[in-house]
């Protein structure tokens, strides 16, 4: 019973280890060198931060397709603010812009009673358009500040052991995981995702909770945008197109269900990591991009099918 539960909850971790070992065997021990592991962790961060928000949203039975657009808007906002203000304020402004987009999603979903898929499909275009308008359809150059070091390697005294961005991600992951498991908001999200009518009968404030979760999701996407900016060092309104699909894939590989009521932070992080390991592994093995896409696609379907099968046999 204990063993079974452990397997249920960490199946995706086993998957991660297996995928890593396969590439380790193909490429050799240098695949597991510290520098390489750190490289993969850095690449995971952007998807992972946005996926934390998406995990909460998917647990509540919703979806957010506007994540990629929010990330691009966020890079533009950071770059614009950096021209006149300090880096801390710029980052804060970007996160706030993300939260505002999420809040709009939440309001539209709860007040117009349109399904999240449609609302966020609309705001995906709206926000992308706003980002382009704000940036005048150009890349925005920005002065170099410590924001550019968020994902830089930890040598030369930057960051402690690992880049700061990774520590921020880990800390947020712990906060979100605790929130989902040990708070009223978290339990309410599971309740709404599992059966919204039951949640209503039980007096859960559905509109409030949904509004909160989309706003949080937007804020985390905004933060992912700050990380993206750190990587690019310019504000780019055309970046991160289709990122939302990677983010959703990470949640789904990690055991989330699009029907709601299921999902975990640990799973999501492992899901995001699996995709990056495949990406990095393939490119280091010298495999072309199309192989990597085929493998990732197979993993997404395989993970869900495996989950189905395990539940059936349980």
């Amino acid at each position: 019973m204990k063993a079974r539960r452990f397997l249920d909850e960490s199946g995706v971790l086993v998957g991660l280890v297996v995928v890593a070992l396969i590439f380790g065997a193909l490429i050799g021990p240098q695949f597991f060198r510290a520098a390489n592991l750190e490289l993969m962790a850095r690449q995971t961060v952007i998807v992972a931060v946005a996926a934390l928000g998406m995990t909460m949203i998917i647990v509540s039975g919703g979806i957010d397709l506007s994540v990629g657009s929010i990330v691009s808007l966020s890079t533009v906002v950071v770059a614009l603010l950096l021209k006149t203000h300090g880096p801390a304020l710029a980052a804060f402004g970007a996160v706030a812009a993300g939260a505002a987009c999420g809040a709009v999603n939440g309001l539209l979903i709860t007040q117009l009673r349109v399904v999240p898929f449609i609302v966020t499909l609309g705001t995906m275009l709206l926000v992308r358009g706003a980002a382009k308008g704000l940036a005048d359809e150009r890349r925005i150059e920005a002065p170099i500040t410590w924001l550019n070091d968020l994902l830089r390697t930890a040598r030369d005294g930057r960051g402690w052991l690992l880049p700061t961005g990774i520590w921020i991600t880990v800390a947020l992951a712990i906060v979100v995981a605790l929130m989902l498991r040990y708070t009223r908001l978290g339990r309410h999200l599971f309740a709404i995702g599992s059966n919204e009518r039951t949640a209503r009968l039980c007096g859960v404030r559905i509109n409030y909770t949904k509004f909160a979760v989309y706003t949080l999701g937007g804020a985390l996407a905004g933060l992912a945008g700050v990380m993206e900016f750190s990587k690019l060092s310019v504000g780019d309104p055309t970046v991160a197109v289709g990122l939302e699909l990677d983010v959703i894939a990470a949640v789904i590989i990690g055991g989330g269900s699009l029907l709601g009521g299921k999902g975990s932070v640990l799973g999501t992080l492992a899901g995001a990591a699996i995709m990056v390991v495949i990406q990095v592994g393939c490119s280091q093995q010298g495999l072309p991009n199309w192989v990597q896409q085929i493998v990732t696609g197979t993993i997404i379907i395989g993970a869900v099918a495996l989950d189905r099968w395990r539940q059936k046999s349980a």
Binding site: L201, G203, G261
Partner: protein, 546 residues
């Protein structure tokens, strides 16, 4: 079916069951939930494979590998939950899966003929084959499903709890239909919890208990009590216990509430029943009171509080509701027992915003013990429990919240006899002035600690309602006296508002009963003044007509 055996792991679900049905007869299959009825029927329908035993249909060996095999062999099942496509028309549903077609193109004329023939055979040539199934009443949908069975040439028809979603009149029509099919030479298996129905519709009955044949007989020669006795394995003592009840203060007052057109007062220490036929608006009334549907006009007062009607306000005021739709609304089936039970009161399970799973489990474990819920533990998903145990989980939510007013909509629908008896006992204990030991163990008081702002404990003092809507009504309740001049007694006894389609249950459990007919609620009268016949007369509007 002879010597059928089926084991799931270590659990033996069926242990050598014999089940013969002849053509031209109605055989009732009765037994409590978990007795093995569903397993037996799943084997018959080809959804499960037996470990041992043989089945024959008209002498030919019958070993269906999947439901389509069963259908081809002439065995058709009509389940409790109908399996129709609501967006297709009646005739499309009737021929679903066996559409008449020439090289892949559907022949609509032949489809219409088949459908019309089946409907005529059922005595309903008036039903339009072009109607959308989603627009039909539950009774109409059931008819379509039976027509589908006939159209595929079935000889053995299995009806599983066919009356659970039908009103009184529709049940009559269904029984006539069953009689008709019987005379046409079909063999009919009738599965039901309702002994009255079994008495009325069947020729023979077979009782299952714990996966074995517990008895069988000719229905007409057996008393209902004896059949129930065989089901539970002991004589059924008082199904509806009744301890001392003392009506206390008014705790729920409803005045000219629309929709529902209802006025009534519910006191502590009593069970008020609302009788009525399906579609009379009973569920709507309860949902309006509980804030799940908008109030058009009228007043609802709970103890001293009247204000906006929302479910969360109702829970805070000490009112809880049990939904009639257990799977669709009552329970979040993919979540754990503990989550479902404690959902309304997570506040008490940890400091600040926190919810500590250990305390959640401890709270749930108490109710699992107290209500004898059969499960592997508080973390088991609700979907894995049987119907009766699921209902107990839903009920435990009200107990965990420690509500003063319990609004129960069809609390015993589709659950087994012993779970029913347990729920009746529970209702009685809740309204009795002297709670018995089983419930005393419950820490009633711990709500006072964590939300001292909820409904008044003894129903006499004003309610300091904190959440900003106190302005709407802060008049302290006046000491009301009970109708016939009795002084109200301060009591912690709960009040129960009960809706049920099953009249014997209402008569057995309630202190007073009011009848709802065509959206209007009549005056409440003591249960002793009602009979089943009178309730039916009133509910069907027959009294008004005469």
């Amino acid at each position: 079916m002879r010597g059928v055996r089926k084991a799931f792991g270590a659990t033996i679900a069926l242990d050598g069951v014999d089940f013969p049905v002849r053509s031209g007869e109605v055989c009732a299959l009765v037994g409590q939930n978990g007795a093995g009825k569903s397993t037996l029927m799943a084997i018959l329908a080809g959804a499960l494979k037996p470990d041992a035993g043989v089945m024959r249909v008209e002498g030919a060996p019958y070993a269906p590998r999947h439901p389509l095999d069963a259908r081809k062999a002439g065995v058709a099942m009509i389940y409790q939950e109908l399996s129709l496509a609501p967006h297709l028309t009646v005739m499309e549903n009737i021929v679903l899966g066996v559409e008449p077609a020439r090289s892949g193109v559907i022949q609509r004329d032949r489809m219409r003929e088949t459908a019309a023939a089946a409907l005529t055979e059922l005595g309903h040539p008036d039903m339009s084959p072009d109607a959308m199934v989603g627009d039909l009443s539950p009774a109409g949908q059931q008819l379509v499903e039976i027509a589908r069975a006939l159209a595929s040439g079935c000889r053995v028809l299995v009806l599983d709890e066919p009356t659970s979603s039908l009103s009184h009149g529709d049940v009559r029509t269904l029984f006539d239909l069953i009689g008709r099919l019987k005379r046409q030479g079909h063999a009919i298996v009738y599965i039901s919890h309702f002994i009255e129905e079994v008495k009325e519709v069947s020729d023979r009955f077979v009782v299952l208990r714990d996966g074995r044949n517990a008895g069988e007989g000719i229905t007409a020669q057996t008393r209902a009590e004896d059949i129930v006795g065989l089901m539970v394995g002991r004589a059924l003592e008082d199904l509806y216990p009744r301890s001392d009840r003392t009506a206390g203060d008014a705790i729920l007052e409803v005045e000219e509430l629309m929709p529902g057109s209802a006025t009534f007062t519910l006191r502590r220490g009593e069970v008020l029943g609302i009788a009525g036929l399906l579609g009379a608006g009973r569920t709507r009334l309860l949902r309006t009171i509980f804030g799940l549907e908008p109030v058009k006009s009228g007043r609802i007062k709970i103890a001293a509080y009247s204000g906006p009607a929302t479910p969360q306000a109702r829970w805070r005021q000490g009112m809880g509701m049990l939904s009639e739709d257990r799977a669709g609304e009552g329970l979040a089936r993919t979540l754990s027992i503990a989550d479902n039970m404690t959902m309304t009161r997570l506040e008490s399970l940890g400091p600040a915003f926190a919810v500590l799973p250990a305390r959640q489990d401890a709270a749930a474990a108490r109710w699992i013990d107290g209500l004898a819920i059969r499960c592997s533990g508080p973390r088991q998903a609700v979907a894995q429990l049987s119907g009766g145990n699921q209902q107990k989980v839903a009920f435990a939510r009200l107990l965990h919240h420690d509500v003063d007013v319990l609004v129960l909509d069809e609390p015993t629908r589709g659950i087994d006899v012993s779970s029913k008896a347990q729920i009746y006992r529970l209702i009685d204990e809740l309204v009795s002035s002297e709670p018995r030991d089983g419930l005393k163990a419950v820490p009633y008081r711990y709500r006072d600690a964590d939300h001292e702002t909820t409904a008044p404990r003894n129903g006499l003092k004003t309610v300091p309602y904190r959440d900003g809507d106190a302005g709407s009504d802060t008049t302290p309740p006046e000491k009301t006296s009970v109708g016939d001049g009795l002084q109200p007694v301060p009591t912690r006894a709960r009040a129960v508002l009960l809706v049920s389609s099953y009249f014997p249950e209402l008569l057995g459990v309630c202190d007073r009963i009011a009848v709802m007919s065509r959206g209007r609620l009549g005056p409440a009268r003591p249960a002793s003044e009602w009979t089943e016949h009178a309730l039916l007369m009133e509910a069907s509007g027959a009294r008004a007509a005469s």
